[in-house]
Point group: C2
Chain length 335, copies 2
DNA sequence: AGCGAGTTGGAATGCGCTTTCCAGCGTAGG
DNA sequence: CCTACGCTGGAAAGCGCATTCCAACTCGCT
């Protein structure tokens, strides 16, 4: 920049003010022109790190997800990316690949980077120790001047976008019950996965209230992934039950379940209906079209980002996002 | 850090050396211990921006994609993320949302951040002006000390991972021909999209060589997206042709095409076969299972990152990645 | 014409760290 | 016993910028 200043025949201070438009200071037009021309001529590019240091704050925002290749997270990431761009922030993405120990590590990384804010997507696990580590890491981050928003369960004492998992799946349960289904199974995901747990709980409780409780033996645990859904469905089918409808706690698992049914020669929905959760865009065209609970994931990303960027509040804020039931061919009405 | 040094009773220099392990200098063990303990006690977190400035290089890598919510790009991003983590680099992700003018802007952003390297994913367009702008932006980035790798067409004078689009779709064409198909249509994507163009060209040329050239009227242009595929397929079906097999230049379009067929009451594959390109993981369970060309996208991301991080070479390096044909139910053999 | 207020350019300081450079120490070799 | 060298700690310089403080200058008013 000193070269630019010299080239333009002004002082370093003036060059800085001309290029990055100082707050309560103006630069005469002709000088500004000269400086900008010189900068252009010299292909000058301001050093963001130096700016960050001088200004005491960066222009970047961190996003932590479990797996960026998972459409659930990539949708959220798209929203965060949008909102970050609008706020003129660069987005640093960290993907833990489902390794929970990496999460606080990434928070530390982003603390070192002095990111403006961190958005943590991906549900919490029931692991008090891990959550405590995460809480402390986030606290350190906030003590260093950053702000945080979470997508998931409001466990970490920070602003959180809470997806109405329980009530969404309860709505779904009632809708399916309304379509005539009575005997349900649940592909419930991992025991410790709180999102999975909430969805399962909401679903099961609603059914119990309707007088069609889910047989505990028909709540199958498996990974929260396509393969987990496949495996759980295979287990279920091998047991030879007479289930009418299978609820998988997310769409990806539901897809795995449908694949398992197909491979086992079981027709969906003729022999067994299947429903999921999330309404993943990429999966809207599968056959049969999947009944599910639509969650506006891109919006969730945007909201989380805006929450993180909003002026700090004393109390952790909660933003609730409802899902809406979408019934499709995978769960036709039973006549 | 000066506080840490004071707390540990050593100089700032020693604290720095103890914490970030200087190159050719050692610190006595007891002192190091003292410093680390003090750092822990004070919850000290080194400022990455200051380190970047002092060291003259950052620990971050940029990735530019068209749309992070697209599974094609999120797969590549997963690979880049992996490789970046291995190299101890933070990944800054920029998603252009298909706005080509944003691409060079993001390069400038990453230049200001002094990123170590940039990986640009997402095929080039046939737009000399845009490509020229991009080339210049990347050159400026490299002049400022960064390195670059591209995924796509080797147009920008930088290291590039080249996906064998033409030969992959030629292989697919031959395989489909081998299964007895003769009358083809191509959902060719946008005219200016070079990846789409290469795939279309490879496919059409291979068929021409086999003596079953594609009728130019049956090459439909549309967006490179699910909706583009849907629209193109609708157009095709409305025209009422007797096509046996439709090749969509990517899986997402193929899925749209299948949806369009279904909505039009046309059965896939009984009435018309459909094939795609990419073998997107999330789409492997659609019905009917899609014949396609598998591209190891995660590996592509890893390779591009490694290419970008490898010592500079004078000549732009090219790494070729082949796709492999995967025939599934969507294109059964014709008897 | 003279004075104060407002405006603008420039010198200097500091952001938090790494790294040279220098000095002090202990040790081995003569 | 003395010197030369290796090892280690500390002082200080500098990375590239924003910003404060000061000085100079302009304008409007009396």
């Amino acid at each position: 920049m000193s070269q630019v200043a010299q080239e333009a025949g002004v002082s370093l201070a003036t060059a800085s003010r001309a290029i990055n438009g100082s707050a309560n200071r103006t630069v005469r037009d002709d000088l500004r022109e000269r400086v900008l021309a010189a900068a252009e001529r010299l292909r000058y590019s301001p050093d963001a790190n130096a700016q960050a240091m001088a200004r005491g704050r960066t222009m970047s925002l961190g996003l932590i997800v479990h797996d960026i290749a998972d459409p659930y997270f990539s949708s959220i990431a798209a929203g965060v990316s949008q909102a970050a761009a609008r706020a003129d922030l660069a987005m640093t993405l960290a993907s833990t690949q489902h390794d929970a120990t990496l999460e606080p590590r990434f928070v530390e990384l982003l603390t070192r980077q002095r990111a403006r804010a961190i958005v943590v997507a991906g549900g919490r696990l029931q692991d008090d120790e891990a959550n405590e580590r995460m809480r402390r890491a986030l606290q350190d981050f906030r003590r260093s001047g950053g702000s945080v928003a979470l997508v998931g369960q409001p466990l970490l004492d920070v602003d959180t976008v809470v997806i109405a998992n329980a009530s969404g799946s309860a709505d779904l349960a009632r809708a399916l019950h309304g379509r005539g289904y009575r005997r349900f199974a649940v592909l419930a995901g991992p025991e410790v996965h709180l999102t999975a747990r909430d969805r399962n709980a909401g679903f099961s409780e609603a059914l119990a209230q309707l007088g069609s409780p889910v047989d505990p033996d028909l709540v199958i645990r498996s990974a929260f992934t396509r393969d987990g859904g496949y495996e759980a469905m295979s287990t279920l089918l091998a047991a030879g039950t007479d289930v009418e409808c299978v609820f998988a706690v997310n769409d990806v698992m539901a897809v795995g379940a449908i694949a398992a049914a197909r491979d086992a020669g079981v027709r969906v929905p003729d022999d067994v209906a299947v429903a999921g959760f999330d309404d993943i865009v990429t999966l809207r065209d599968i056959t049969p079209a999947l009944s599910t609970v639509r969650v506006p994931l891109v919006d969730v990303g945007v909201m989380a980002t805006e929450l993180a960027l909003a002026p700090e509040s004393v109390e952790p804020r909660l933003v609730h996002v409802d899902g809406s039931v979408v019934l499709r061919e995978s769960t036709p009405g039973r006549t």
